[in-house]
């Protein structure tokens, strides 16, 4: 028991890192749901592709032998490319896989099935173009193992702190964007009452596209952070990460932006603590137990409202 307590602070910091990244990826699910009432099941693949783009940036830098790679500029470069690529991919998905369906007034099921199709398509596209074998992130070149700091008696690698800070800043930025800017107001208006938003002169299709861009870009950033942390990526990594982020979004209340952040944090912490106190093999089970419990007892999530009621309007 004493051993467990000794590593507790460390596990909490890991949990926070994991949680902020889950939250980041969960935002993509929740934002898209907010404006379109659909679950973008291909979001996990967008996350995975973000990880690949980050890997490529790092690989190209290594190949070009630009000299010493300092994370202070390399990580932002990886994030920027991954976010742009993932964001545009999300917009493309919306334009070609979902919009034709929702414009034709298809039922909810149509876009959902299209999303599952897109997810399978993207997995296979990556497998065929990048190979089925995993790729290794050269994280240790950026963050030497000796870069550790002491927090509350725990020795934590600098990378973990960077993850928390990057994911935290992005969530904060998104929060400001949504709450304080005109663009954010138009996103909220579309989420609350699409027809009224139209009547105010909001171009709803544009807002939906922008929402896909933002959510996907954050997912892509999440992919880079996870890649750096686990150092191994493959074409299938979006599946379980996506399910976990989706769980986080449902836990917080799907459609609710603050809920996604909170749900991500809780899930990350619970997972990390579960590993501490239980057999690590149960780590993934924890997320799905939470998902089932939430769906049964509080389907609207922690911060969400009763979506079923709202949709009747």
């Amino acid at each position: 028991m004493a051993g467990v307590l000794a590593i507790l602070p460390q596990q909490i910091v890991f949990g926070l890192a994991l949680g902020t990244v889950y939250g980041l990826v969960a935002l993509g699910y929740t934002m898209v749901y907010g404006v379109l009432f659909m679950i973008n099941f291909a979001h996990g693949e967008i996350f995975m592709i973000g990880a690949y783009v980050g890997w490529w940036v790092l690989a190209l830098l290594l190949k070009a032998q630009v000299g010493a790679l300092h994370p202070a500029w390399v990580v932002p470069l990886m994030l920027l490319h991954a976010m742009l690529f993932a964001g545009l991919l999300g917009v493309g998905l919306e334009r070609f896989a979902y919009r034709p369906l929702y414009l034709r007034g298809a039922t909810r099921l149509g876009p959902l099935i299209s999303a599952i199709g897109a997810s399978i398509f993207l997995q296979n596209a990556v497998m065929l173009s990048q190979g089925a074998r995993m790729k290794v992130y050269m994280t240790s070149l950026l963050f030497p193992r000796t870069w550790r700091i002491q927090i509350a008696g725990a020795s934590v690698s600098l990378l973990v702190i960077v993850m928390i800070v990057v994911a935290g800043l992005m969530m904060w930025g998104l929060h400001l964007l949504v709450q304080r800017t005109k663009l954010g107001r138009s996103i909220r208006a579309v989420a609350e009452d699409r027809e009224m938003a139209t009547i105010m002169g909001v171009n709803v299709r544009r807002v939906i596209a922008v929402t896909f861009f933002l959510g996907s870009a954050l997912g892509g950033a999440g992919g880079v952070l996870v890649g750096l942390y686990y150092t191994q990526i493959d074409f299938f990594m979006g599946y379980s990460a996506g399910l976990k982020a989706f769980t986080a979004a449902v836990l917080g209340g799907i459609g609710n932006i603050r809920g996604a952040m909170l749900g991500g944090l809780i899930l990350g912490l619970v997972e990390s603590l579960a590993v501490t106190f239980m057999n690590p093999a149960y780590k993934d089970v924890v997320a799905f137990v939470i998902l089932i419990v939430v769906l049964v007892f509080r389907p609207m999530g922690l911060l969400g409202e009763n979506v079923a009621e709202r949709e009747k309007v």
């Binding site: 005109k182 107001r185 138009s186 609350e192 009224m196 009547i199 002169g201």
Partner: protein, 237 residues
Amino acid sequence: MLKLTDVVAHYGPIQVLKSVNLEVRAGEIVCLLGGNASGKSTTMKTILGVVRPTAGRVEFEDQRIDRLPTETIVRRGISLVPEARRIFARMTVWENLAMGAFTRQKAPAGELAADVERVYALFPRLAERQHQLGGTLSGGEQQMLAIGRALMARPRLLLMDEPSMGLAPVLVDQVFDIIQSINRLGTTILVVEQNAAVALSIASRGYVLQNGRIVVHDAARALLAADHIRRAYLGED
């Protein structure tokens, strides 16, 4: 200023507007009457392009607008106070007003702030509650907010869909006073009302819509005096 010619509109296969002919001249208050489900709200939405006419034409200031996107129509100077207010419940009063000015991209911030102040001057209750969420306002306050939000677009033509619905009698009079003063300041108004007597008393002309067709059209005074109108829409026998 606004002219609808033989406008037809459908929801899916159902024809809701069969033939709507209606004209509003600059500076007027025109009243659109009609029973439940006769197509009054649909007419309003068709003018704004939220519902697309399947035949006929809508002209605003001598230009066809029936193929334009709603944002362009709003930008040209038409805004709507919708049926049942439809304010954004999860936005503050101030944010609702800001949404009203959404299409005024190039307006300097100072100008928008001045317009917000003008709305607050018209409805002091809104000023007191500017940081409160729209959903927490009373029905009357929500109606004031819906009107203020529409004014933020600086419309030349204001469409109002049953602005007195669900309001206490005192408030009904207040709302119509406001409509009159908005009109005096230069905004043309097309108002749909169940409260036909009050609406006709401030309007210059009125139209009666029945089953998607305009069946009567006359000066407001004549409509107020006409027996069959009184029976059908003013609740008198």
